[in-house]
């Protein structure tokens, strides 16, 4: 019952990862008594569980996820939202109005029109129904300002960091508010354009170097240096 790779080694679909008393975890599958990889990624042996941390993936909705989406269609009783997933998401009008929807008096395009961006939570989803969105919590709803950037959905957990250490550090150092959509879309809102750019730069750097260790420290250093330069300019 051996394991055939070392931890964190790169594997491709079809690679035999382990045989015997192992359990197939993320991105791996069991065939007979053998465990194979499903995606290109880094293998991880966690006791008897074999996971593959995917290097390339796409977002699959899950109930409770906070996502950022774009309105693509205004319907009769709600909106269709592109959430960067294989399925379009639905947002009901009553959800935004916070009361029953009255077709005679409520004008949907006035509330949200095609092209508008929203922060929303996935309210309900299963394989037989398209995801339903909810916006009835603080922090959710239409986005009015800030910058949007796209990252690979698999990298979002790295940007969050252990117990949110990475985002909270970026927020603190740049003074920006950062909302990470689990679907790989990130919203950065700051007081000035420079602050926002600094935060996006940090996020890009994390995306590029997500597999290196000691990243939090290096990002902190980078942000501190950038801030130092700005102070100098002000003094001049």
């Amino acid at each position: 019952m051996p394991a055939f790779f070392e931890n964190k080694q790169i594997v491709t679909p079809g690679d035999l990862l382990a045989e015997g008393e192992y359990v197939a975890g993320e991105n791996s599958y069991l065939e007979g008594s053998k465990i194979f990889a499903q995606r290109i990624g880094l293998v991880e042996y966690d006791n008897k569980r074999v996971n593959v941390v995917a290097l390339k993936s796409f977002y699959v909705p899950r109930t409770g996820d906070v996502v950022i989406g774009t309105i693509v269609e205004v319907g009769f009783t709600g909106w269709t939202v592109d959430i960067n997933a294989p399925y379009p998401a639905l947002l009901r009008a009553s959800e935004v109005l916070n009361r029953p929807f009255k077709p005679q008096q409520d004008d949907l395009p006035k509330l949200l029109d095609v092209g508008d961006l929203i922060v929303a939570k996935i309210d309900a989803y299963d394989r037989t129904h398209d995801p339903q969105l909810a916006v009835n919590e603080p922090g959710l709803g239409k986005i009015t300002r800030g910058q949007i950037m796209k990252v690979t959905p698999t990298k979002i957990p790295r940007i969050i960091g252990r117990k949110g250490s990475m985002v909270s550090m970026i927020k603190q150092e740049t003074g920006c508010n950062v909302i990470l959509g689990l679907n790989g879309i990130v919203l950065v809102t700051g007081k000035t354009l420079e602050d926002e750019q600094l935060a996006s730069m940090a996020i890009r750097k994390i995306e590029d170097e997500s597999h290196t260790s000691g990243l939090t420290d290096r990002i902190t250093q980078m942000l501190k240096n950038a801030k130092g330069k700005k102070e100098e300019k002000k003094d001049e």
Binding site: R39, I40, T212
Partner: protein, 244 residues
């Protein structure tokens, strides 16, 4: 070009392009060639030059094609008008429609189609230059593109042909050998699972010859498989380097 050579294999046992009977044509594989696509790959197999692009899983279009319990795989094999000596009409020919189906069915067993119901995965294969064995090269490229798109797969699919030229069983026929030879046996294969997903034969072979041809093709597949894995990994090479 058009006069038929007397012998396809000379006295030394070398073929027209100087290969031995069990030699593959030179191969080049590249992953992530088209940044606009969700996944893509490019293959140069001898004189064959083929691009493969994958989109999805995404909402099924047209919607009535969607299935409630699985993904719909769609594949388009197309030859560019300039891919062959004589201009090929860009409209899909009977042969291209058939190859689209054959190629799709050969990589379908590798994809976990039941994971994303009601969606569609589009695979586009564009042959830029053709020189015999395009279906095999297409399958090899398409499976790399699928893996690059992050679509869960049981294994990478490799394809390679073997056949009979003059009186010898040879590996990886080129265009002339395919047209003037006796038989051609394309095979697609999942090496880790030891499963064949495509097996065709064009021409006449005896039982023994057929078996030799299939085994030769499988050996060729295994060689290409190693190159396929290498190509896929090299796109993410910087990840491994920074690991140390």
């Amino acid at each position: 070009m058009n006069d038929k050579p007397e012998k396809l294999i000379d006295k030394k046992g070398l073929r027209l392009d100087g290969r031995r009977f069990d030699e593959l044509r030179p191969l080049k594989l590249e992953v992530g060639t088209l940044p606009n696509a969700d996944g893509s790959a490019y293959i140069e197999h001898g004189k064959n030059k083929i691009l493969a692009a994958v989109y999805g899983p995404r909402e099924a279009h047209p919607k009535h094609m969607a299935l409630q319990d699985r993904t719909v795989l769609k594949c388009r094999y197309h030859m560019a008008p300039f891919s062959v000596q004589e201009r090929k009409s860009p409209a899909p020919s009977r042969r291209e429609v058939e190859l689209s189906k054959v190629v799709r069915e050969s990589f379908e067993p590798a994809v976990f189609v039941e994971y994303y119901p009601r969606t569609m995965i589009d695979v586009f294969i564009e042959v830029l230059q053709a020189d015999g064995g395009t279906r095999c090269a297409s399958i090899t490229a398409a499976s790399l593109a699928l893996a690059d798109a992050g679509i869960p797969m049981r294994d990478l699919i490799v394809a390679c042909a073997a056949g009979k030229v003059d009186d010898t069983i040879v590996l990886d026929l080129d265009d002339t050998e395919d047209k003037l030879g006796v038989a051609d046996v394309p095979v697609a294969y999942m090496p880790s699972l030891n499963a064949v997903t495509l097996l065709q034969m064009d021409g006449k072979l005896s039982h023994d010859e057929f078996e030799t041809a299939v085994n030769l093709a499988l050996d060729g597949c295994k060689t290409i498989y190693a190159m396929q894995k290498e190509a896929l990994k090299s796109k993410y090479a910087n990840v491994e380097e920074s690991e140390d």
